[in-house]
Symmetry: C2
Subunit: 336 residues, 2 copies
């Protein structure tokens, strides 16, 4: 039985959405147990309605605080000791949960996770990693915003960690790794990517060199490495463009009787297309490099989206993500 801790309280939407999403996963995954962290008066009514077979796999953990979406990372660590986010991460630290999920403030979650769990030895900073749909399946991209920048060494570590996770959790045999830059030629880019490029040729990864933003989608690489600022902007840009295109398509197919008739005939195709474009399908990103599994959900995640993040946490825990990363960075087996 796998146990996942859920920060029910943090996020832009009502706790109800995250609760519903979590319980949906519980229903589908009979080998899962959930620790629901938050205000009992908000959580209990929904849990009490569960059939007893499900209710037996749920525990409500009381948290009196919620970390605000605009709280600074420092204040979150200092003042958020009784927050749902902190307690969810603590449960991983204490070994009571194999992973935790939060839709809260990224900066706070990153700071608390680093403070409580610490990084795997020799890893300077953890990075947020997610699968992005590409022409040949997925690209695994990191850092998507755990940090506001990255040193050359950190970029190299992201490359190694990304490569390990792509191989051990997503069955990519020999992950090809690209470093995001504003040109593919060796001379392009600022000092940081230049220095990282030089380091990466000596790393134990299948490094293909610099790639541009469009390479995320072409399938030419399996792992796309960048700093948290650029990665987060790229991710949000994708979300915005996908939404714009979906809205335009909807408008076009409602513009005339003819288009509406066509849309009616084509609805299986359109439905598949809409699903492929739906950012909720890709919700959830692992914070890799920590001595424990923390999954970051989009703040605006609804029940459907949040369920994906919970599934991702279970997948990462069952795939022993932390141990795989630790084995590579702690050759002496410091990590238990």
């Amino acid at each position: 039985m796998l146990t996942v801790a859920i920060d029910v309280m943090s996020g832009d939407r009502a706790a109800h959405e995250r609760l519903t999403g979590s319980l949906r996963v519980l229903r589908d995954d009979s080998d899962l147990r959930l620790l629901l962290v938050g205000q009992p008066e908000q959580i209990r009514p929904e849990v009490e309605q569960l059939p007893s077979a499900l209710g037996g796999r749920v525990e409500v953990i009381c948290a009196s605080q919620v970390i605000a979406m605009d709280e600074t990372p420092r204040a979150a660590v200092r003042r958020g000791r009784d927050s749902s986010m902190r307690i969810a991460v603590n449960l991983v630290k204490e070994g009571r949960a194999a992973a935790c999920v939060s839709a809260g403030n990224t900066g706070a979650l990153t700071a608390i996770s680093h403070f409580v769990l610490k990084t795997v030895a020799n890893v300077e900073r953890a990075a947020i990693m997610s699968a992005i749909p590409s022409a040949r399946g997925h690209a695994h991209m990191l850092d998507l915003g755990a940090n506001t920048g990255a040193t050359p060494l950190q970029l190299c570590q992201f490359a190694r960690m990304g490569s390990i996770v792509a191989r051990d959790l997503y069955e990519v045999q020999r992950p090809r790794v690209g470093l995001l830059n504003i040109g593919e030629e060796d001379i392009k880019g600022h000092e940081t990517v230049q220095a990282a490029h030089a380091l990466l040729t000596r790393e134990p990864v299948d490094y293909v060199g610099f790639v541009e933003g469009d390479a995320i989608f072409t399938g030419e690489v399996d792992v796309v490495v960048t700093d948290g600022f650029t990665g987060n902007v790229a991710l949000k840009t994708m979300e915005g463009l996908a939404r714009l295109i979906a809205a335009r398509a909807r408008r076009e197919f409602q513009a005339s009787a003819r288009a509406m008739f066509a849309a009616w005939i084509a609805r299986p195709a359109l439905r598949r297309l809409a699903a492929a474009l739906d950012p909720r399908r890709y919700n959830g990103a692992c914070m890799v490099g920590l001595r424990g599994i923390v999954v970051k959900s989009h703040g605006r995640a609804d029940a459907t989206a949040f369920a994906r993040a919970v599934e991702l946490a279970a997948h990462a825990a069952r795939g022993h993500m932390t141990a795989h990363v630790a084995q590579a960075f702690e050759p002496q087996g410091v990590f238990s």
Copy 2:
């Protein structure tokens, strides 16, 4: 009569594409003259086939060199004196052309443009600016890759220049300016965006604060400011995602007889959608902040895409872009 210089030789495709695109604009714009810069033996045969009414508005300017797509900016400035790119920019400097267009190496074009034309007084660095389709028309985004980074002061200058160009060339009454960041809260982001944020509140622009990547498309701002590294990655990410979605849509509509029938009925709608998604429609970006107009075309631009870049050059010149920017930065009227 407006004269635009064309760097026919630089770019990933054959010179023929850029020549065809340029001559297409010449045909549609009877008040345009073109200076076609490059190897006469490649250009003349096509020019000689033009009807005399058009041929009279074309001049071929000989250039013996071509700047390679992987040439360093420094080498391009030093060794590229007889290159088509350099000569095209020189023609603007000499006043023989009101603007120039090149699909060459961005780094080389930026370096040569700064070296030959110089920036408007008080402007540290020029930025590449382009219109990006949004839910309410367009967002004007800069820097898209003229520079590999930006200081806080440079980001502020980009904001002012972007605001001026949006207002004076694109009729946006009161352009709302956003600074790209990894969160909207004041505390988010690295030191550079934090410092720029503080400066921008004192600038003569309608600054709305930090925006995330999705704000490019929502219409909540008219001008999106970022450094050239992040901007270029975001731009290439958009291109890649738009192509991926277009490919998926094509596949879905070819997957069954039913979908193909629907596509046949819906073809006006699908054609409009495909056109809206076609990155060629948005080709061409102005380098703003220089004492002359330089338009950067995508390296892979075909005739259709290159024509848009030529049209943009004519639009910027007719809108007196340089003078508008100079008036704001050189209040004493240093710029003639």
